[in-house]
Symmetry: C2
Subunit: 345 residues, 2 copies
């Protein structure tokens, strides 16, 4: 049974997920590297659907013949979830500490029937479909008022935390507001109250004016290396017109978004030799009024700006980083943007 | 020239350290794994002292004969520093962003003349000497009022960020307060103001009473797996009697501290099969009065409690963790403490 625990010193939550009876061997480093699995065993490959929990939704291929693979994208509950929807939602103290039961949702989006195709290989229209599945799952989970935050993310490659090679992404819905999101919301809110402008809108305006950190600037989206990038070749993709909530993005924007993300993945693959990467979709949290917090959430549509953070995992996180909460980045964002712009893909 | 940049969204600093003319090949993952270097090349081995910048201090072996290796522990400036003491200390804005010049100190403590001996192998008295060098360097750097924080840490193993196998640790002194430290200081302060007790003293009291997360409980120190451990087998070592500042710890405490750390490293090596690890010394920041902040810093001696955080690096940091700022820990701290206690070393 997993649980969320609060660290009173660092003021952050942690999920202790020990469903499976941990033994030290399970956490030894050499045991963590995923091995390629054959198609007959891979739980995400067509034909092995019974190896996963019952599917939540799927996108069928309308043109497929009777014998062909029927689904193109498939959403399933995670077989080894960090949090479960069946748990009761309990909060209690334990002396100086705080505990919340491991209530939540943990879903997997199998992005393709193919065991080999990676996201950078997807057609733009297939990638748009993947993002429309993100949108629909986000929209559905936002209706559950017990969730404080819903995160959609992708781990590509072993060092980025992927445990299966078959291309997939994940959704986790949690009953607390993560510390990092609380900071992001607070800084956006404070900025908006001071200036009556969205901070991300101002950042985008300045980035386009400066130009040196821009990688793609098209009709609807801008992609740039953030000024204070924590990691080499880190990228941020944001819509140019203010919008707080990814769950209501229209098809036209999804199509452009897919084209931009595909191009960035191809540029990263070229420049960094197929790096492991994570991406994280930052959309506004569901606005669930709760005691003493209502005014905090009312204007979130004005001050939050959805975006995708795309982080190649090419540096190690060492003692300095754990001890301070900030990173030493050996690549300037300006150089990184230039290399990405100039790459021939 | 490196610089510190502030991320206005996440409210955290980042060091952009691009002294050496970055090319993408330098940050490609496969290029980051340190290769064992021979003794004739290792800059930390005796005989190669001219391969490092001039030493800051060293501890000699008083009993060594004329031909023997003279130093036992050696402190040198980092040859590729993240920050440099020669930089002027400049702060300026750049549109919406904030920049501080890359002013600071970055030192390396070569912990042993031996290329093979790891910290877990050190004798307790040698480890005490290493910690007394930490103390003396901390004490010296604390006198420079331009530093807001001084961190001492160790990276052991490739995945923990060590770039050389020869056992060493590092000190970085920085001109800003890191976000994580700011949170730690604030939570300690707030707790103290409410209760007139140190939070860590209360945590230690509760941990000793509970018992299930205790690994070592001796005369001066307690070592336990924190209740909200972010990582499997994470450990915290703290003095049982309140003390905020490691730079004034006495010899008797250092001796006990060394014995406890050595035992923990041996237990970790046994249980997790020589894992990569980081440790980070958390000592109170230097109290440098500055405008509008004086009352914040005056009672730090009462509410801050020094400690060492020891983190085996056995899990990968994936998208969820980057997106929320909190970790999914597959090992319960209670199980981890039990395995560590029961290990035969």
């Amino acid at each position: 049974m997993s649980e969320l625990r609060y660290d009173p010193v660092r003021r952050t939550w942690v999920i202790i997920a020990t469903e499976r009876g941990m033994r030290p061997i399970h956490v030894q480093r050499h045991d963590k590297v995923p091995k390629p699995v054959s198609k007959s065993v891979c739980p995400f490959c067509p034909g092995n659907e019974d190896r996963t929990p019952p599917e939540i939704m799927s996108l069928k291929d309308p043109e497929a013949g009777p014998g062909a693979v029927r689904w193109q994208i498939r959403v399933i509950p995670n077989k080894f979830p960090a949090l479960t929807i069946e748990s009761s939602q309990e909060r209690h103290g334990k002396g100086i500490y705080d505990v919340v039961s491991g209530f939540g949702a943990h879903e997997v989006i199998v992005e393709t029937p193919s065991d080999e195709e990676q996201m950078a290989d997807f057609s733009v229209s297939h990638l748009r479909n993947v993002f429309s599945v993100y949108r629909d799952r986000l929209s559905d989970l936002r209706r559950d008022s017990r969730f404080r935050y819903i995160i959609i993310f992708k781990n590509h490659g072993t060092e980025a935390g992927a445990s299966l090679l078959h291309s997939h992404s994940q959704i986790i819905a949690i009953p607390v507001t993560p510390s990092l999101i609380a900071v992001e919301l607070a800084s956006n809110r404070e900025y908006y109250l001071n200036k009556e402008r969205c901070m991300m809108c101002d950042i985008i305006h300045q980035e386009i004016e400066d130009g040196e950190r821009i990688v793609i600037n098209e009709e609807y989206f801008v992609a740039f290396t953030p000024f204070a990038s924590s990691f080499p070749f880190e990228l941020r993709i944001a819509p140019k017109i203010h919008k707080h909530d990814f769950s209501v993005v229209d098809e036209d924007h999804l199509q452009h978004f897919a084209a931009v993300v595909k191009e960035l993945l191809m540029r990263l693959r070229k420049v960094l030799n197929d790096p492991p990467y994570n991406f994280i979709l930052h959309s506004s949290p569901p606005v669930n009024p709760r005691p003493g917090k209502s005014d905090y959430w009312t204007s979130i549509a004005d001050d939050y700006h959805w975006h995708l953070d795309l982080i190649p995992r090419v540096t190690y996180i060492a003692g300095f980083e754990w001890g301070t909460g900030f990173q030493i980045n050996p690549a300037s964002p300006e150089d990184a943007a230039r290399f990405l712009r100039e790459a021939e893909i």
